[in-house]
């Protein structure tokens, strides 16, 4: 589900209306008032979302049917062991106290110990986070660098219904790769490049070559999907009157596309790329499992399988927090790039 069908553009909340369009104020829209309003509003929403996320992660333990302590130890464990585990998990305290302690753990950076690994959860996350971050950021870079030019090129070649053949080829190729789940792609890549041809290592994080297959597995589908979206957005921009003006100036086609069309694509592309980064984070969980990548993804899966609830709970907060943070960053970036965006706050 990491590539959910065509993500709708969530209303970017950069509500900064250009109040004084024709004033000579140069950067009229840069008036501090609208910026602080934006900061308060967006920051408030972020804070609200974080509180909701932490609460949901906390409730996760409470919602497990039956006794989580019993569930984590299995049916054969002694009653004493279960009681001890209940105490370890803090389940013998009142709900309110548990909730407050969960918050304290997160805020002080000491959310307790991992049950299965017997080390502080914070240490596990600190040692595993960089590998996941590298994977995700590298993939995002690859996706952006490939998808935007590809989509723009496809749009330029097929605008106004030109070259139906290329349009069909592009759409079906991109559609095909966008449908293939990244874990299948990963398995296929391992088979071809690691098992058959021994070009790249099969698994693990060891040197630059070991990044190639995981990044490829993660980026191919997203690149295809984003390129498709960039193309359809670009087709819209290429129909605009101001591109007719650009053509009327008889400039080289490359300048028309790169200087006149591309900047007008960035807002929507960025919004969508933000959504992709979110689903990319989810994709890392699968790809890390395939390539035995020493990141957070393998950790969250094993924590669930070993019923290591403190670790799983904290990782849910970490993953959710990353997604919320990405959304926040995208919104801020959009507000900076396109300050006159009047997209309504939902």
């Amino acid at each position: 589900m990491s590539k959910s069908p065509a993500p709708e553009i969530t209303a970017a909340p950069g509500v900064i209306r250009s109040s004084n369009l024709t004033s000579g104020g140069g950067h009229g829209w840069f008036a501090s008032g609208s910026w602080s309003l934006f900061a308060v509003r967006r920051g408030g929403r972020f804070a609200g979302s974080v509180v909701a996320l932490v609460t949901v992660a906390f409730l996760m333990l409470q919602l497990i049917p039956g006794d989580p302590a019993r569930a984590s130890l299995g049916p054969t464990a002694s009653i004493e062991a279960v009681a001890l585990r209940r105490h370890e998990l803090g389940l013998d305290q009142s709900l309110v106290l548990q909730y407050l302690q969960f918050w304290r753990g997160l805020l002080t950076g000491q959310p307790g110990d991992s049950i299965s690994l017997r080390v502080p959860v914070a240490d596990v996350i600190a040692s595993r986070f960089p590998a996941t971050a590298q994977l995700a950021l590298l993939t995002l870079a690859v996706v952006l660098v490939l998808a935007i030019p590809l989509g723009l090129l496809a749009a330029a070649m097929t605008r106004g219904g030109r070259r139906r053949g290329i349009e069909l080829g592009f759409n079906s190729t991109a559609g095909f790769f966008a449908v293939i789940p990244e874990f299948l792609l990963g398995v296929g890549l391992i088979y071809v490049f690691a098992v058959s041809f021994h070009v790249f290592p099969v698994a693990g994080q060891s040197g630059p070559l070991s990044y190639v297959l995981p990044v490829a597995a993660l980026s191919i589908g997203s690149t295809a999907a984003l390129a498709r979206i960039v193309r359809s957005e670009a087709l819209g921009v290429l129909e605009q009157d101001y591109l007719r003006t650009a053509r009327a100036k008889r400039m080289p086609p490359l300048r028309v596309y790169l200087r006149h069309a591309l900047p007008n694509l960035m807002t929507s592309t960025l919004t969508i790329a933000g959504l992709f980064l979110g689903s990319l984070i989810a994709g890392t969980v699968l790809v890390e499992t395939i390539f035995a990548w020493p990141g957070l993804g393998t950790t969250i899966v094993s924590s669930i399988l070993t019923k290591d609830y403190p670790l799983a709970q904290t990782l849910v907060v970490v993953y959710g927090g990353i997604v919320l943070l990405i959304n926040l960053l995208v919104d801020v970036l959009l507000a900076v790039l396109d300050p006159r965006s009047t997209i309504k706050e939902s």
């Binding site: 140069g26 979302s49 030109r162 391992i190 003006t245 100036k249 008889r250 989810a282 006159r340």
Partner: protein, 609 residues
Amino acid sequence: MASQSARRWASALLSPTGIAAVLGLAVVAVAAVLGPIIWGERASATDLLALSQPPTPEHLFGTDAAGRDVLARTLVATRLSVLMALAASGFGIVAGVLFGLLPGVLPARAGRFVVAVFNFAIAFPGLLITIFLSVIFGQGSLGAVLAIGLSIVPAYARLTHTLASSVDGRDFVAAARILGVGKSKVVFRHILPNIAGPLIVNASVTVGGALIAFASLSFLGLGVQPPEFDWGRMLSEGLGRIFVNPATALAPGIAVVLAGITFTLAGETIARATGVNPGPSSRLRPWRFAKILANDATAVAAQNAGTADKVLSVRNLRVAVPTDAGWFEPVKGISFSVARGELVGMVGESGSGKSLSCMAAAGLVEYPLRVCADLVEFDGVPLLQGERRPPGSSGRKIQRLLGTRLAMVFQDPMSSLNPALKVGTQVAEPGFLHGGLSRRAAWAKAVRRLEDVKIPLATKRAHQHPHELSGGMRQRVMIAMGLMGSPALIIADEPTTALDVTVQREVLSVLNDVHNDTGAAILMISHDMAVVTGLCTRVLVMYQGQLVEDLPTAELLAGKARHPYTRALLAAVPDMDTDRSLPMPTIAEGMDFSAGPSARGEELEEVLS
């Protein structure tokens, strides 16, 4: 109506996509229903003599670690994989639709809370939600169905809410409300049926997505647990043995991809059949235009003889537009010319082809429209002969010529300037692209040009973006842009239509000043007789793709127009003597003037109503 929708279904199902979708669905259905019956035994039969075997004729995809046939297992797994996907999608879609309709039924405040809840949930990727939920529900097929089903809810609720909101404002919903129909009845009787199309289309895509989600979850070991098996489980077992026997991972992998693609294609087919997303239109036969008269050099030379004093000569210009019914010609072979320094106006009702003719002459008409002419010549250089530029001419030279000698001013200055680029950059561009100036020199020249068109504080304005300028100022920026070169002709396509009356006058006077200062000819397109007769010395009248009148303004005003349409047009212009107690004269809808000048002028009274 019924036959039309039947035809749409037929054409959608008979398209390559439709055929592939139907075939794929049939295969999936057969495998799901019959798979366990036919191959069930074979799938669980362990062959201790053939553990982890590579593909053999007996076991096409080899055997797994327990010696079971991988192909049979893949086919048998279809039922569980598809059933789980259908169950989760069904649950998720129904819950999502109900949840999405809830804000319409609840009081406003509660409705907003519901929207906030699914907006919060939708921020997280489906797989993360699924993993989170699988902690709560535990591992196993039921837990997986619940987890994936629930992860579908937010996206579907959001889709339903968005669609419902878009329908909510329509008249029939408002009417139902006024008639006192209850909230929930409005939602279920009036809104839901109108958004069903996109919801159904998405359902098919959702099933495909759920299929892949189950495979992912089982692949991670969080879904189906042994001894049950689905495609994801088999894949994860196969990955462990990829060195020994890659085929064991191959078979379930192919199954997941094919099933996923099948449901996507099915969604596309339904979208086409229900008209949610129409497919590509049918191909047209190539446009056949009348034989080009002059192709040999002597004829061209003969034609050129009379064009030395012309800045623009157009002979038999035709434009064709593809429509569902075939090629339509909005410009049906017109010829006109503009002398150097002349002020020419082109009038006609909307759709008469005046704008298209000028765009075609300027080479700005794009695919899929087609242009052909016996000759289009600008500034002494032939641009178009037949459907392309004359043989032997240099495309780059022509572009440079047009970039420096031909200026264009478009109708809507709001949309004609690039919102992402600074005004100065846009004005300066022709300077450094065609004029050989450095960027800095071009910028300085751009500022001077902005001053020339009377833009106050030009230095500062150049650094602003178009949205910071008023409409009249933007139109003057367009004119300044044309002045970067040394224009021989300015084609102004309804330059004042989008502006209010006082600003119109300013823009016209700027155009007039430019004409006086540079000697540039102006070809002004307008539907406003007063504007044209005020500025221009000669008027061209277009009617239904043809040029019906070409005469000096003075003669036009003296009542010497020959064509009845021109006379009707002229009579419709009010002046100071017009009796304002009477309704303004208009040209009656559906009047046909195509009979041409032979129609008698006395009929004018009948023409005007």
